[in-house]
Subunit: 234 residues, 6 copies
């Protein structure tokens, strides 16, 4: 039995408040239970050097924990003078995921930068960031009134893990810290996986467990797509 | 006539939501109109090296703009690898101001670190940070149930400026960007100034204008003390 | 048909030269075809701060590309003054993988640092690094003559991908750069997965393709275990 | 009674040696008693990116303490790899102050960089830097023989404080370290304040004390203008 | 008597394996006994800013120790975030030495970057790097089929020192660490010195010892030129 | 004929003003013609980690150019966030040279840090720094009234070069920039060389030229010893 009373395959309450910020071209506040992330999309008419003159756009992401989003204060990366390995890993994952939702040709020579700032962390910050970032990016693209909409599909993600031998969906921090296996699944709403990261630090896992985690995640991600669509299509 | 319709000596709507974060020892979300800052207080049983063994505590502050708190995206300092001069200047001011509210001897060999993260910027972020930081710190101190309360007094701040020859209180961003003179006043509720910073980049100012700005600020800060007291004493 | 003439499920020639360096406690040169990595294990009688006094050891890894290991020169990270996100991501993966091979309690309060320096890069440098790092670490542990051998099992890894719709094992650089899906599998010789990273940047993938990649990888990793055993047990 | 025997409103001996350096376009060595600062002005035909094409110039300043300018050696910022918050704060103040003395339009698309290097520190290094920087800049501008002299007025500064309840002008280090209130006043010779920074770390202050400090400073700054004029107009 | 059994004026076995790397325009693995360095030359059609438009080329070098090239692990400079003073000193020496071998006018507006990565260190890594770098650069130049060969001459180097009062050629690590005097000589094959660095940290030296070291080095460098010629002219 | 009218083997006017700074334990301003360097010695009761508990002291040096010490402004290293290779090379040379003048055992577990800050640069700044640093260190040691004076001997240095085929002593900047060969000699007053650095970037040199440079330098350094002795023994 989970402390929260949730069923093993049950998501926490997912809420997305669109247009959370006045200045960003697109933005939202996303929460998965107590995990809260501000996602903001910025559109720039300038691409990274490797794309200059290519008529192709780019999507990139940055991720950060507010120092007291965490139980024990996390030192501010601006003070340390460098981003940690974990931050690099997460923001690369968010960027890769978002690029699967967009036709970079239709975007044209523009860059969308997504900022995911975690206000409160209770497990699953990277998957919540992907879900919110897709909405922020979608809102920004909508405002630009493209002839050919570059947003080809939606992208969403959820975490899943094995705790005391049971597969559990959408781990909160207390579950995550004792999980034997920890996995993140990213999918698009046209049906298909775009990223799996599964890690067994305390134990190994087998393909049966992987399948079960994938199945839990597939169904949960469908529910997240519904919430995203309500905002972007509503 | 101000675009917002405010009188020259009128504050924007000031709102403080206490206990905004689950994990911090003390926290709030403070807003001055559209300017919004999350303030979080962390208590550590460890002081900076220069105070080791002194039986005396310390208060320090860190300040940051979320990249899309601003109209044009502000580059993330963690990515640049260093904090800007402006950030250094502001967090030193916040720290200094807070230390005037506390008996560091009564605090004992502990450090309180205040994080001020600006979610949305519309002028006056440093003065809003001081007002919110005082509440976050006050809430954290309250929880520690000291015999001798180290919180000696409250501290609050407001900005004031000269725009088109008129003294205006609590400038928003559009007023701030065309101000001839820009000033910040920090006061304690036991009556007294703890910091004045007044700058005339586009024009000089005289002592009459300074007095008028000081008077506007004094009255406004009294109102802020009322809001702080309601939360800390209520 | 692959340019190299290999079958879709065929590994490149894997060769491990043990004791490649005079000074390291354990070392090897591993090659997967033209990909060549020097792996060196250093044993230190000192653990990271979070483990001090815990009677538990730690394994960490560092990874680097020599500037001309790559076709186009890669700028030296020491000159740039920071490691890239890709480097952080890879060295975290290597460290996590190695820790699944060792009882950190039996290791005692010691740290083994593994350096993986890529001399020549032709695809699969991170998986080759894991395979070689396991040997370097195994040789270092062997020399220490523990009563209870902390090396519980072997760990190895291989890359797999989808190119033009076909699942191919152990991609070289030319295959990797046009792959629709790119995956890395890490397993232990006691049977079980310890990490999957599967990414579809140009296309999505389904669970059937994932299963096929996993099956190809499982068989290939068995072959790598044989080569590791010959050195460590021979 | 002050240790130095000075009256409360008495400046230390102020001396300016113009053209102290062979290579700089303008330079001087300024001393306020034992505080000594080398000020050098460099003229560059290039402005910061935000002013390109604007036909407008810029003035910026850098400030540094030589390691043994101070009683206890100050670590070299080039070795630490970053400038401290204090340095940032001071060089921003110097730059702002100097820009009030110059018509940036008349300067044209040029940048004047002022270097203030403190050879010996005995209190008041930032205000001495402003006074010397104005001379170095004025000498550099003079050499350029503009049709419309961009130097509109002189700028000078002095520190003032409250020690043991008395207002004292131009604090030396021993007075500064026990001051209850510490203030810096920057004025232009056309009459007018350009910056006030007043801080009470050990105590608060009231508007009467502020007025007295302002009055002491106004008179002292008049004397500094005389010395500046002798060099620049002489 | 030297532990290795070598005569005082005897070089260690010098071996150069050309074309050691697949991707570099020119490369080799050079060994002086147990000291082993990978040298790689990269040709870029772009020069440093100070040479733009000059029709003149440039040669620069970078040097690094692999962490376990040394007996005690050397911390990775990319992790520390900066290159050490020793590294800076060595790579400047290598660059300077190589520039004496090349007509930068005949090279044209191109830059050759030489990477010297020490795989194993047993004394004399900087002089081995110079000898190997000359070969890597020579091979890269050869491939470019210039009308006027910019390689004017060869350059090579050797270390020499005074140990227990005797002049010894080509010190290994154990000799180097107890040497009273440590010197490096760089010469060109057209006859002539291009660099001498002689240091007596534990003792001084006189001109007689300097002459003897220079004579030993001159003869040894002639032998190295023979090995270089065999590869570059063979 | 030299522009300055000096004979080929003639030093510029060398002047040393002792006790130039109030706060340093030992200090001087040294000038070689227009080259001026402030040298300051700091004594700390703390040694670098590798000497803890060894009862042995250490001497280290730091070197910096003031931005406008040079004809074209040199960017401030504190702003760039790192010291250049040239700075590293020079401060290592100064430190090494000074350690030959001192018995580190007699110094005891103390560190003397020497700061050499170049106020004005006109060639020969590193050799002037060594000469001045020896005086600053000597003055600091004198004040400490050791039973066994750890200052065993004096150390001094001078530059020499080949310009248009002639050997010239003590090059100024204009001579230095067209020199074919550039050399620095460091000697102790007990007779003996402690460091030679000779470089031919535009041309090679032979042992005859080296001997002539060494002879010029030997005689000039004798004169510098006289000036040092007058201050330290006078």
């Amino acid at each position: 039995m989970r402390i929260s009373g949730r069923a093993n395959n049950e998501l926490r309450k997912v809420k997305i408040i669109p247009d959370f910020l006045d200045h960003a071209e697109g933005s939202c506040l996303i929460s998965f239970g107590n995990t809260k992330v501000i996602c903001a999309a910025t559109v720039e008419n300038k691409v990274p050097p490797f794309l200059k003159g290519s008529r192709t756009g780019w999507i990139s992401a940055e991720y950060s924990l507010l120092p007291r989003s965490t139980n024990v204060r996390t030192e501010r990366e601006a003070v340390k003078g460098r981003q940690t390995g974990r931050t690099h890993e997460i923001q690369r994952l968010i960027g890769r995921s978002l690029r699967t939702a967009v036709s970079l040709e239709d975007l044209g020579e523009r860059q969308i930068k997504i900022d995911c700032d975690v206000i409160q962390a209770d497990g699953g910050t990277r998957t919540a960031s992907i879900c919110g970032a897709c909405v922020a990016m979608g809102l920004a693209i909508k405002k630009m009134r493209f002839k050919h909409n570059p947003l080809k599909n939606l992208v969403a993600a959820v975490s899943c893990g094995v705790v005391d031998g049971s597969v559990l969906l959408d781990l909160d921090f207390s579950e995550d810290s004792k999980a034997e296996v920890d996995a993140n699944f990213v999918m698009v709403d046209t049906g298909g996986l775009v990223e799996i990261q599964a890690t067994g630090e305390k134990s190994t896992f087998n393909s049966k467990q992987l399948s079960e985690m994938m199945e839990f995640s597939r169904i949960a991600i469908e529910q997240i797509f519904e919430i995203q669509k309500e905002i972007l299509l509503g």
